[in-house]
């Protein structure tokens, strides 16, 4: 039954439709459009500001300092020549982080559109970087373009296999993809420790005392397109990520495959009755998700990391941030782009290097990023509440209007 007062059911409605994640998302989009994500972010920033205030900082100065630290002030005319150079470097850093976030965001978004929740972006990202570093540090003397391509393909395939395992388990045994992808994350982490740890099969040949891989050869590194290659300038991977956004959009909205994926995401039963193989789509979608995340791993590796250290495996959270990116971006191409940019900027702006400790302690500020990230996920997961509040507001204002037919079950 419907909850009285929460959402008035349309009159004489015969039976509620099956409600899937994708279904809820679509309802949400229609009800809120771009407004609700903005409310979500604003609210998260306000709460973050309160935290700053309580811990003795000035929220406005802090946010201003974080903003400057992201390099997003670079296009604005008020900064002078020296600041401008720093801003350029900061912006390069922001975009370097944005690049994998776009891809791990897509890895979650694509699954969502098929009614799946891919928590495994992190693992898929990691195995992508493992394969990329292995291929990149082998085959010395291969032509540069070919070597880069080979590394990227290897990373993509690794991610696709990692994701595909979860899809296959779901399709054949009905294993919940949330559980299996979490488990696969851990398998990926510990596989990394085994491979690159002291005495591991892929540990560095030159320095046997550090748990790290070999460096990739120069020929396998991605070209830097903005800034100084020695100072971690922006690599070409950003354009690959942007191309992936386009591929995502076309694949989902214009191809037979995407049509099947969306049908399965909205209503697997109806899709099945139309002769669509639901299981095949689960495998396919999870593989493509893994491919996106694996691509992210290989781009990071070939773009600026150049090696895998077990320490980094432990603290990396690009894959998990991708969940927040997809949720905030409403699993659309454009939304994912902006959400990735937001989180990329937050990560850079609150980093120890960029934030002046006299304004706000960077150690606290990076927690601020986590708080904002957590709030975004929480608020987006509680989408129904946002929609409800939104409708309540519009109903108060002008009684006979507002989006209806929001399905809520209890």
């Amino acid at each position: 039954m419907t909850v009285p007062g929460l959402a008035a059911p349309p009159p004489d409605d015969e039976g509620a439709a099956p409600i899937t994640v994708a279904g809820r998302l679509s309802t949400y989009l229609k009800a809120g459009g771009i407004v609700t994500p903005l409310i979500t972010v604003t609210f998260a920033f306000i709460v973050g500001g309160l935290v700053v205030l309580v811990t003795g900082g000035n929220p406005f100065e802090t946010y201003r300092a974080i903003f400057d630290g992201t390099g997003l002030n670079w296009p604005f005319p008020w900064i002078s020549s020296e600041d401008r150079e720093i801003a350029a470097i900061n912006l390069q850093q922001t975009l370097i982080v944005t690049t994998p976030l776009i891809l791990t965001g897509l890895a979650v978004a694509f699954a969502f559109r098929c009614g799946l929740f891919n928590i495994g972006g992190q693992g898929q990202y990691l195995v992508g970087s493992y394969l990329a570093v292995w291929v990149g540090s082998s085959f010395d003397g291969m032509p540069a373009a070919l070597h880069v391509l080979l590394c990227i393909v290897a990373g993509c395939v690794a991610g696709a296999v990692w994701g595909g395992i979860a899809g296959l388990l779901k399709a054949t045994t009905g294993a919940n993809e949330v559980i299996s992808t979490i488990m696969l994350n851990w398998i990926a982490v510990w596989t990394g420790f085994f491979l690159f740890g002291l005495g591991g099969p892929l540990q560095s040949d030159t320095d046997r005392s550090v748990p790290v891989s070999n460096d990739v050869f120069d020929g396998a590194k991605l070209p830097v397109i903005w800034g100084d290659a020695q100072l971690q300038g922006l690599h070409v991977g950003l354009f690959i990520a942007l191309a992936a956004l386009l591929v995502f959009w076309v694949l989902l909205n214009r191809t037979r495959t995407g049509y099947e994926v969306r049908a399965v995401g909205f209503n697997p039963e109806a899709a099945r009755a139309s002769g669509i193989s639901v299981g095949r789509n689960y495998v396919l979608v999870m593989s493509v998700c893994g491919l996106f995340a694996g691509l992210a791993g290989s781009l990071d590796l070939l773009g600026w990391q150049f090696r895998v250290a077990t320490n980094d495996i432990q603290i990396s959270e690009i894959g998990f941030l991708g969940i927040a990116v997809a949720l905030l971006g409403r699993n659309t191409a454009v939304g994912t782009l902006f959400a990735a940019l937001l989180f990329g900027a937050l990560v850079t702006g609150t980093s120890v290097r960029n934030l002046d400790p006299t304004v706000f302690e960077p150690a606290l500020a990076s927690n601020l990023t986590l708080i904002i990230q957590g709030l975004v996920v929480l608020l987006v997961s509680a989408d129904i509440i946002v929609v409800y509040l939104w409708r309540l507001r519009s109903r108060r204002r002008r009684p006979p209007a507002g989006a209806e037919r929001v399905e809520v079950t209890a």
Binding site: D12, A17, A22, R272
Partner: protein, 509 residues
């Protein structure tokens, strides 16, 4: 009983849902001890009006008077307190509890801190006897049939002191015989002074049971008429706003080759219990074979087996000579099985898809619809526009989400999609379920047209009238077996006997 203050009066009730006006200044008057039918198509606002009365919705305008006094009903609890009882379409009973326990739920009688079921059971028995409701208060609800569960719901309303009893489409789940039993109970209640509101969109039963009829159309009250002065035709006209063809005109048929051949089929249900047990049937080109039966006698499983949505234990399904048994839904579709699913929201449509996308669910595979795997939205929309025109779908364009159409128009979309794939056999499972008179007329006419064009049609329906008026041959299914083959002109009673498991041994399949 003129002269008395009416038991209940609704005056100028207006209820809006966003831009939709579900009730527009509706007046409704219920006399003491009368059975008053509330008649209207789906979406006419019947349920909304009664939900306002029961405190589930607050009206935007208008007032409610009980026994002449204005009351405000802001919750179901308040409605119950005021003596208003409601029997919903979907029963709200706890299956594992006894009848008596269900009756007192929420108002548990107690002696000190201890529950006192004895008193409750005694009172229940007394009420049941007074109103001729055959119910054992100690029986568990899960062991009761649908009709008996409905009587428990009625009894519960009376137990809570209902003077006004609202029944929302009570016969939708009942057999003809159970409906008659229900009508008898309602008449007893009315004679004892209880006022009954009977919501329905079925004309015949409204004529059977009610004293007066109020007709709603698109949220507005059309008229209140005395049942004695009404006919099926006059009510249908009030309801739809135009003359409606109530009986299908059906020319003689000349069936051709056997298209669908089901042999000795065994199918298990979701719990793994046998649902279809050694069933065989044939459907030939150019005939409608009706499958009559009470709900849950294996119809759903049979349909799912034929459309290959469910695995069979044994037996074969052949379409046009091709064995499709267990080959998957795509194989069935490619062999030429069209399927009007019994639950269009669950299986027939992707509600969030727009109409062009829904209409392409079978056709998108066709090479002409895509190039190098890329679909052409332009082609899909153009095709959709043509189908929407051909099948007279109203209330939406090719880019309208399916969820915003009315039930009748949604069903037209399903039918348009299935027929446009030009299937050899069409399996129509309860194709008019939940539809209003106008939409039912459309579906029936369309099915007969398809038959005349040489399609084989298997019509599965719980509506005996539908089976009898549309079929060329009628089969009765009972507990997963064909209990009889009858002429569609056989009487309701004859059908009823086989539908309820009687007359076994005279089986002809």
């Amino acid at each position: 009983m003129p002269g008395d203050a009416p038991a209940l009066e609704l005056r100028g009730i207006t209820k809006r849902f966003g831009p939709l006006v579900a009730n527009d200044a509706v007046d409704f008057e219920l006399r003491r001890g009368e059975i008053h039918a509330l008649l209207g198509e789906n979406g006419a606002g019947k349920s909304t009006l009664m939900n306002v009365l029961y405190g589930l919705h607050q009206p935007d305008e208008g007032e409610i008077r009980l026994g002449g006094e204005v009351v405000r009903i802001d919750s179901a609890r308040r409605a119950i307190g005021l003596g208003i009882g409601m029997v919903h379409q979907h029963f709200m009973l706890v299956p594992v509890m006894t009848v008596a326990e269900n009756l007192v739920l929420g108002t548990e009688p107690h002696r000190g801190p201890l529950l006192d079921f004895k008193t409750a059971a005694a009172r229940a028995r007394e009420l049941a006897e007074r109103f001729g409701l055959a119910i054992n208060p100690e029986a568990k609800v899960e062991d009761l049939g649908v009709g008996a569960q409905q009587r428990v719901e009625i009894l519960r309303a009376l137990f809570r002191g209902a003077k006004v009893l609202v029944l929302d489409e009570p016969t939708a789940v009942l057999t003809a015989q159970e409906s008659q039993d229900l009508f008898r109970v309602l008449r007893t209640l009315a004679a004892e002074g209880t006022s009954v509101v009977f919501i329905s969109h079925k004309l015949q039963e409204v004529l059977d049971v009610s004293d007066r009829v109020t007709v709603l159309r698109r949220g507005k009250k059309v008229d209140t008429v005395a049942t004695a002065d009404s006919t099926e035709r006059s009510l249908a006209r009030l309801m739809v706003g135009r003359d409606v063809l109530l009986r299908v005109e059906k020319p003689e048929h000349a069936p051709g080759e056997t298209v669908l051949e089901v042999r000795d089929l065994h199918v298990a249900d979701d719990r793994g219990l046998p649902a279809v047990r050694g069933l065989s049937l044939d459907v030939r080109a150019g005939e409608i074979v009706g499958l009559a039966g009470v709900d849950a006698n294996g119809q759903s499983e049979l349909v799912e087996a034929i459309t290959c949505l469910r695995q069979c234990e044994s037996g074969t399904v052949r379409v046009d000579g091709r064995d499709v048994t267990g080959h998957g839904a795509l194989a069935a579709i490619e062999a030429g099985v069209g399927h009007i699913a019994e639950d269009r929201h669950r299986r027939g449509l992707v509600l969030q898809f727009d109409l062009a996308e829904n209409l392409s669910l079978l056709e998108y595979r066709h090479p002409a619809m895509s190039r190098w795997g890329l679909l052409s939205p332009r082609l899909m929309a153009a095709r959709a526009r043509k189908l929407l025109r051909d099948y007279d779908v109203r209330g939406g364009e090719s880019d309208t989400p399916a969820s915003s159409l009315s039930g009748g128009n949604q069903q037209k979309v399903v039918i348009a999609r299935e027929l446009s794939a030009n299937p050899k056999v069409l399996v129509a499972a309860q194709p008019t379920r939940g539809l209003d008179v106008g939409a039912i007329e459309f579906v029936h006419r369309r099915l007969v047209e398809e038959r005349d064009a040489g399609r084989a049609i298997l019509l599965v329906s719980l509506e005996l009238d539908e089976i009898r008026s549309l079929s060329d041959r009628a089969l009765v299914i009972y507990e997963g077996e064909i209990a009889a083959e009858l002429s569609p002109s056989a009487s309701e009673e004859e059908f009823g006997v086989f539908m309820t498991g009687g007359g076994r041994g005279q089986v002809a399949a």
